[in-house]
Amino acid sequence: MKILKKIRKLFNPGQKKYSAQTNMDNLDISQLRELTKKEKLTNNLETNLSLIRKYYGNSLGLQVRSINIGPHGIRAATVYVDGMIESSALEELNRALLIDTVKTGDIPKDEKKLISFIKDKIIISVETDEVNQLDELFDHVLYGDTALIIEGVATALLVDTRGWKTRQIVESDTETSIRGPREAFIESINDNLSLLRRRILVPQLWVEGFRVGSLTRTRVAMVYIKGLAGEGLLEEMRNRIGKIDADKIMESGDVEGFIEDSPFTIFPLMLRTERPDRVEAALLEGQVAVFTDGTPFVLLAPATFFSMLQSPEDHFEKPPIGSFIRLLRYGAILMSTFLPGFYIAIVNFHPEMLPTPLFISIAATREGVPFPIIVELLIMESVFEILREAGVRLPASIGPAMSIVGALVLGDAAISAGIVSPPVVIVVALTAIASFAVPNFALGIAGRIIRFIFVALGGIFGLFGIQLGIFILTVHLCSLRSFGVPYLAPAAPLILSDMKDFIVRTWVWQLTTRPRLTGFREPVRQSRRQARRYLKILPRKEGDEQDES
């Protein structure tokens, strides 16, 4: 073997020359990451720069600018990544380092003092930081900071020069509302946090940052109101986010998959939203928000089933209107889940429940239809799902063509050809419309999937099958928890004080308490006294005074 190796060396003399290079080539990404974590900055500027070069490789973008600081000309270098920085901030930094240091004159010789001098008296940038680990340096530099490395100092000074293009803040497409704020989150976590911060102007709005994903190093932030969110909830959330071991976090869905309570359910256990007002309302009820960089969707926990059926504008409209809309929505999700199942069960097994004329007209339309009713329903439901999915992917310009194909060809022609009966088309259309009235997309999808199960159960066992399905569904829903909060709260377990904002909502001055399971630390949200102004007709209660004190 040794001889073979020697012979190989004879024929390949250049191998030794590039040993450093081949060393890097042979290392896999995890080994490279491990190595990066071990590396520390040294006193020597050249070594530091070559260290950075070594790990960054030949790839484009990394800019190193050598400068001399102060009247004595201390050698230093700024390191930054092209395209991640704002050039005016960088120019400002360079001007400060090159010109202001010379003007000041009395620069300390000692390295330790030098760096704090520069940090405290020279740099006018907003945010500075000191690091001595290579991976920390990369964490910052690759995120748009500029690193200042000085000869003879083993720490690098990081200056915030971040600046890159972000999307305009526009209205949300998926969560529109008639009344209420229009702005929605965008892909940048900093902009998202600022959207939220503008709404809650107390220092107790706390943000805890995480870097998640071994390769993407995505910034994830956990936002809550200190003193309002339960400490147990916060600890649990911290733990769960901290335990995420993934190479990538591309979207909040990735975070959700890692931190949700039970993966074996089709119901969303965390509420996703792209509306700052929604997040604000949730935080004020003691919930926790999880922001993820690179996505406009923010996760809210703990989430309950009924909170997904609410929309912020329920609270902006007058109570009767908000309650009415909310009732409609509850009806809509029931309809989108159960209507086809009930239809098939009643027509197939219990026609006596229908009024006779109605049943006769249904039976008449089914004349000549070749399929059993269950096949008819499954065909039409599947067609609708395909249409819906295709509609999402279609470019806007082809949209009208799609609706013509869907409405005319599939709906009208299928009926006149006698393949499906008109009542089935009506049922499918009704469920489709109803499922879009559910404000939470994930919940709407869950309802749609369950619908197929109920069609099967109703088609095979009639109403008894539907009942069995409801039993299993309720057992499942009742056993779910989202961060310790029962999923069906406040209906099961029944919490009477939360009924004020449940199926119907009362006037805003009557919403005096927070939801008990999340806002238990400060249950009273506003004084009960003001309600009396509106309720002059009602007599004063004795206990009211004591409650407020």
Binding site: E352, T356, L488
Partner: protein, 377 residues
């Protein structure tokens, strides 16, 4: 392991649901059996009896807020005798639940799915209940929370619609045949308090076990209220003779409702409500049975034995009688009255005897209050 907790409110709901399923299925026929038009009177009398039994069953459990009735019986009577006594209680769970589900299945098959085999309906109901019991008592409590308003709403709707059909002249003459028949049918109804023995298993899971008696009492009161109104309306709509003869008199009377052309066969809604409450009752029975067996044989977890128990349940339910008519023989007052009362009285006479004996001999059988409080924290 953490002890699962349910609120006293949920305990109350479970009590109501347990007794209300009986009302749905059979009670009118039982009470009208002999009392005929005076069914309401025997209903009232039955409430007094059930309230007494609530005190017997729950009243003992309140002294042992952290023990189920199986543990209490071993504590009071020793391992061997206590085990035997608790076997009777566990048998009652098994048998009563299998009777309940059988009635429901016969109703479904007789009225709707005429060609479905009995074992499928029974098996499906029990397996679903096993799933709920597997999820734990907290889930069952939440189910009770969800279904209780539904149940009450269904009752209210059917009561109000029955009011239009009711001919209260049917209730006369009041107490025409003296108190004898009334007492006799109420005796049968009281036997239904054997259904309440599950409450003894639930007490350690309560958030406030010391107040269990009050909760159970109010539950029994609501159930009695429902019972009396149902009895009155059934007799008023159908008349005493028809009410006596029909298999499911309450549904029979509901079938009489016709609001224009559109609303017919409203009894389906009530059958739905019955199904919901039966589901809660069944899962409570199965949960308590599984828990009890696990405690009797010192098993760590009750969950693995639920499925085998469910299979036994199905077999018992299907094979207990060949058809509905023989099955109804069991509910005759001299059969079920004696049987139900035996199921309650036999174990509880021994348990109370043991309790009082210990109390008199100076061994304090009760748990310390302080201990309980520290455990709650």
């Amino acid at each position: 392991m953490r002890v699962e907790k349910i609120a006293n409110r949920q305990f109350l709901y479970i009590t109501v649901i347990m007794l209300a399923t009986v009302v749905f299925s059979t009670l009118p026929v039982l009470t009208t059996g002999n009392a005929r038009q005076d069914a309401w009177a025997s209903g009232l009398l039955a409430f007094a009896g059930v309230a007494l039994f609530v005190n017997v069953i729950v009243g003992l459990g309140v002294h042992f807020p952290r023990c189920s009735v199986v543990q209490v019986s071993r504590k009071l009577l020793g391992n061997a005798a206590g085990g035997l006594v608790s076997l009777i209680i566990l048998w009652s769970f098994l048998h009563l639940a299998s009777l309940e589900v059988r009635i429901y299945a016969e109703m479904i098959i007789g009225g709707f799915l005429t060609e479905t085999p009995l074992v499928f309906v029974v098996g499906a109901m029990i397996m679903v209940a096993v799933a709920a019991a597997y999820a734990g008592i907290e889930v069952i409590g939440r189910l009770a929370d969800l279904f209780f308003p539904l149940l009450i709403a269904m009752f209210l709707v059917s009561f109000f619609s029955l009011l239009f059909e009711a001919k209260f002249i049917n209730l006369q003459p009041v107490l025409a045949r003296g108190l004898g028949p009334v007492l006799e049918s109420s005796y049968n109804t009281i036997a239904y308090s054997s259904y309440l023995m599950v409450l003894g298993m639930l007490i350690p899971h309560l958030t406030r076990p010391r107040k269990a008696t009050a909760s159970a009492f109010w539950g029994a009161a609501v159930a009695a209220f429902i019972l009396v109104i149902t009895a009155v309306l059934t007799v008023a709509v159908l008349g005493p003779e028809e009410g006596f003869r029909s298999v499911f008199p309450f549904f029979r009377s509901l079938r009489a409702i016709r609001v224009t052309e559109f609303l017919e066969r409203t009894e389906l809604l009530v059958i739905f409500a019955w199904g919901f409450s039966l589901f809660v009752a069944l899962s409570t029975f199965i949960y308590c049975g599984g828990r009890g067996v696990a405690q009797l044989f010192n098993l760590k977890d009750y969950r693995p034995i639920l499925l085998p128990m469910g299979v036994i349940w199905v077999a018992l339910s299907v094979h207990s009688s060949p058809d509905m008519f023989e099955f109804r023989g069991l509910y005759l007052s001299y059969v079920f009255g004696a049987y139900g009362l035996f199921l309650v009285l036999f174990p509880y006479v021994f348990l109370w005897g043991g309790y009082l004996f210990r109390k008199m001999t100076g061994q304090n059988p009760e748990e310390e209050r302080g201990e309980e409080k520290s455990a709650e924290r």
